[in-house]
């Protein structure tokens, strides 16, 4: 299968936007080669501002640009963007409901050898608690491209997280993408696997394996974590009667937590969570880390069987 770094989709989306719109500007904090915003610096230098290693000032400056009528995209590693500049994002961007768009690059443990300091595993949790914020975790480079373009049309702040490493491209130009609308990739009635980001591909792999054991899974790509597509999530849970969530993020506060918040109130079924279990990452090769920290199709399969067992236990 064709693979591509998700961050390339961010660069492509920005190029498309800057080609069409003079009001789109891009800011980076000295990691423009990593985030692909250097593509904008090269092609549209008047629309690109390197702010140096100063995430807080970058977010504040973007707020001012937005107040002045521009649509700013700010990019750096997700861990520094969401963490270092959280108060700026909260009090200046979100409180004012400004159209500042955040590109959280190098998200997840698959950043690899740089180790725990550079692996954003908390960004979904700390951005989704902010009023007015939209939070996106697209599944591949093509979906990141679409999300980037869609974010520009969104009236308020948007946080988009994406990884560094090549991941399988499972969507194409024609695949549907709409902020706030989950994508159903498979429909089964035994277990609903709800995934985001790079874990969507792992969820599909798991579903194929489970089918060989006559366990039929629904697979939902929940690329928008906020606002939650409540209808899709509730429908998946009620169709299957049990749920597995899968994300490259801390289990606490992440996409799975958001799903659980919805289902606990509207459709309380057994839920199993696949994600990081309250630990920091470490250095290693991306695939080694995904394996060691339980972010694989195999772990989704065992979680699915546990969820199914809990459903069956409840029925008897």
């Amino acid at each position: 299968m064709n693979t591509k770094p998700a961050r390339d989709g961010f660069g492509e989306g920005l190029l498309a936007l800057c080609q069409e719109r003079a009001d789109v500007v891009v800011l980076d904090a000295d990691v423009s080669k990593s985030t692909r915003t250097n593509w904008i610096g090269d092609r549209f230098p008047k629309q690109f501002f390197n702010m140096g290693i100063s995430e807080q000032d970058m977010v504040g400056t973007a707020s001012g640009l937005a107040l002045g009528g521009m649509v700013p995209f700010v990019a750096t590693y997700g861990v520094f963007l969401s963490g270092r500049a959280w108060d700026q994002i909260r009090t200046t961007v979100c409180y004012n409901n400004l159209p500042v768009k955040f590109g959280g690059a190098h998200a997840g443990i698959s950043v690899g050898p740089d180790g725990a300091t550079h692996q954003a595993l908390e960004d979904i949790a700390i951005t989704r608690v902010l009023p007015n914020m939209t939070v996106l975790a697209p599944c591949d480079a093509e979906e990141v491209r679409k999300a980037t373009i869609a974010a520009a049309a969104c009236p308020g702040p948007v946080y988009i997280r994406f990884g560094r490493e090549p991941v399988p491209v499972i969507t194409d130009e024609k695949s549907p993408f709409e902020i706030g609308k989950a994508v159903w990739l498979k429909t089964g009635s035994d277990v609903a696997i709800i995934a985001c980001g790079a874990m969507v591909y792992q969820a599909l792999q798991a579903a194929d394996q489970l089918a060989k054991e006559s366990i039929h899974a629904t697979v939902v790509n929940l690329h928008t974590i906020k606002p939650m597509d409540r209808d899709s999530v509730i429908r998946a849970a009620s169709t299957c009667g049990c749920v597995v969530t899968a994300e490259e993020h801390q289990i606490a506060g992440g996409m799975g937590s958001a799903v659980a918040e919805t289902l606990a109130a509207a459709c309380p079924v057994p839920i199993e969570f696949v994600g990081i279990h309250d630990s920091f990452g470490e250095s290693g090769q991306p695939d080694e880390l995904m394996e060691k920290y339980g972010l694989s199709a195999a772990v989704i399969i065992s979680a699915s069987k546990r969820a199914l067992q809990r459903k069956q236990n409840a029925a008897t």
């Binding site: 504040g60 640009l65 002045g68 700013p72």
Partner: protein, 279 residues
């Protein structure tokens, strides 16, 4: 669009007295607030809103209006008072400061109050926002200028210096910072809590055009703003030498009055002192 109102300095001084009375009345009615820094910045705000800024209260969202960012958001009462005096909203609204449902939030919220160019309250962020507005003006070919008022204690926030670096790097000469240099913060004097001196040298070292003046002398403030506007190629900052709690003898230079509401007797004395100067 209205331009400078051509008010005389005595007329501006009279406005300052009115604003001081309004600030004290608001904080008294609210039962809490920040009188020290509010009284300190009265002349700065009066010079800007009645002498310098191109604004029109009838068209508060005019795209080419000059912008003002109150980075030290806790002196919201002073900003509300000057906006009301300038005609952005009726004076009666001032009495609702800090009350449930009021547009006069404890710290400025632009979604609720006409005439605000940004919400603020978490210190250290305003100069970056002002930089962004100045950069947007350049990108859009707009002629507006952006002003940002900072507290001197606020200069302890690291983000101020990130913004100082980037605004100078991008040569934002349409940006003017003002430091209310009164030497007192919540817990004590800036010298005791965390020394910020030499302030002017720091801004110069960050490649800013630095203008020092008496922050309670309207003539000096007006000419400082004009000097800032005529400086090209770099941002300007006005270091305004101020007295915290200015105009009320027992509040002056007292850290205790950073964020405290006067009782009845104190309030009466404060009002009397300000009224006395009117004569």
């Amino acid at each position: 669009m209205l331009n400078q109102l051509h008010k005389s300095v005595p007329e501006l001084e009279e406005i300052c007295r009115t604003l001081r009375l309004d600030i004290l009345a608001m904080i008294r009615a609210a039962g809490s607030g920040h009188p020290g820094g509010s009284l300190s910045s009265v002349e700065i705000l009066t010079a800007l809103y009645f002498g310098i800024m191109k604004i029109d209260p009838q068209e508060p969202c005019q795209i080419d209006r000059d912008r003002f960012i109150l980075s030290k958001g806790h002196i919201a009462p002073a900003l509300y008072a000057v906006l009301a005096e300038r005609g952005f909203f009726p004076r009666e609204v001032l009495n609702t400061l800090r009350k449930l449902g009021s547009p006069m939030q404890g710290h400025p919220n632009m979604a609720h109050c006409t005439g605000l160019d940004c919400s603020s309250g978490s210190l250290g962020q305003g100069l970056s926002v002002a930089s962004g507005l100045a950069l947007a003006a350049r990108l859009r070919g707009a002629s507006y200028r952006t002003y940002c008022l900072m507290g001197d204690g606020e200069l302890q926030e690291g983000q101020i210096w990130e913004a100082a670096m980037s605004a100078a790097h991008y040569g934002l000469d349409n940006l003017c910072g003002i430091v209310d240099y009164n030497g007192v913060q919540l817990d004590g004097t800036t010298k005791d809590i965390m020394n910020i001196d030499p302030v002017a040298d720091k801004w110069r070292a960050f490649n800013w055009n630095v203008i020092c003046c008496d922050g309670h002398d309207l003539t000096a403030l007006l000419s400082a703003f004009q000097a800032a506007a005529s400086c090209k190629g770099m941002p300007s900052v006005i270091i305004a030498n101020c007295v915290k709690g200015k105009g009320v003898s027992f509040m002056e230079n007292q850290a205790a009055w950073h964020g405290q509401c006067p009782n009845d007797a104190q309030y009466q004395q404060a009002i009397a002192e300000i009224e006395q100067r009117r004569l």
